[in-house]
Symmetry: C2
């Protein structure tokens, strides 16, 4: 398959980048994955301006990745907490991929700031390519093939 003839207007990489390909969204997702849910916590921890945070949350809501759920503390007005939807939580793989690349190639010489572990075994885990039977595949034997919605480039 010559990739130059693939109609990439239909490619999931580009579609996903349209959704989350700005400087803040994935950092925001990282926070939400780690249960930072309140506007002011997000604002302070990300060091993001309030208007931008507000807009990003709305955009993610519109895309169905985040929902606002009200909570109430004694004596104060109800406020909102923001949490990832099931779909939004699946962005985890993107955040982890960024983290894995950064840890390997841009990291602090001392090592990673954060490591990923399996809650059950406490072993460190990583992203890898796996076959349907669950076996791990070497990254260089990956091939891209035409899928159901494949389109040749017109002309």
């Amino acid at each position: 398959m010559d990739w130059r003839n693939v109609d990439t207007s239909n490619c999931s990489v580009g579609r996903t980048l349209d959704l989350i390909g700005d400087r803040w969204t994935l950092l925001l997702v990282r926070e939400l994955l780690n249960d930072v849910r309140r506007f002011s916590d997000l604002r302070v921890h990300l060091d993001i301006s309030a208007p931008v945070l507000s807009r990003r949350l709305k955009a993610l809501g519109l895309a169905g990745l985040v929902v606002a759920v009200p909570y109430k503390e004694d004596g104060s007005r109800p406020r909102m907490e923001y949490e990832l939807t099931e779909t939004g939580r699946e962005l985890q793989v993107v955040v982890l991929a960024l983290m894995q690349f950064g840890d390997q190639h841009l990291a602090d010489p001392k090592g990673p700031a954060v490591v990923l572990v399996d809650a059950a075994s406490q072993q460190r885990v990583r992203l890898a390519l796996v076959r349907p039977d669950g076996s791990v595949m070497p990254p260089d034997s990956l091939r891209w093939r035409k899928g159901a919605a494949f389109r040749e480039l017109p002309h």
Copy 2:
């Protein structure tokens, strides 16, 4: 671990986003991973303007992710081909993560345009979290723990 106290200025997610977190770079990496290597091929296939393509290639070169190697066709002046370095090729995991999310949640109802297969077995493959022994872990039992370069947030 309360993530609100983590000093995220040292986080690999953010560091990687600084490097490739714009709307073009990862699409460019997708092309390079698929052996589209020439300036004009990249320009046409991505539908990107020449100045931007030029700037992105330079930036990626500076970051050590891409190198320009000269080639010569009979009768014409030598030109450049752009290819990913070993480090650059490791961005594959990021591109695949975007693709996997998009295929699952933003895709054409007909299915994915492109599928990933293992060259040896021709089986479809996917990104998953695996333990050191190569066994696959369920995504919801993932935990983030302090790593060697962990820093608490001042104050």
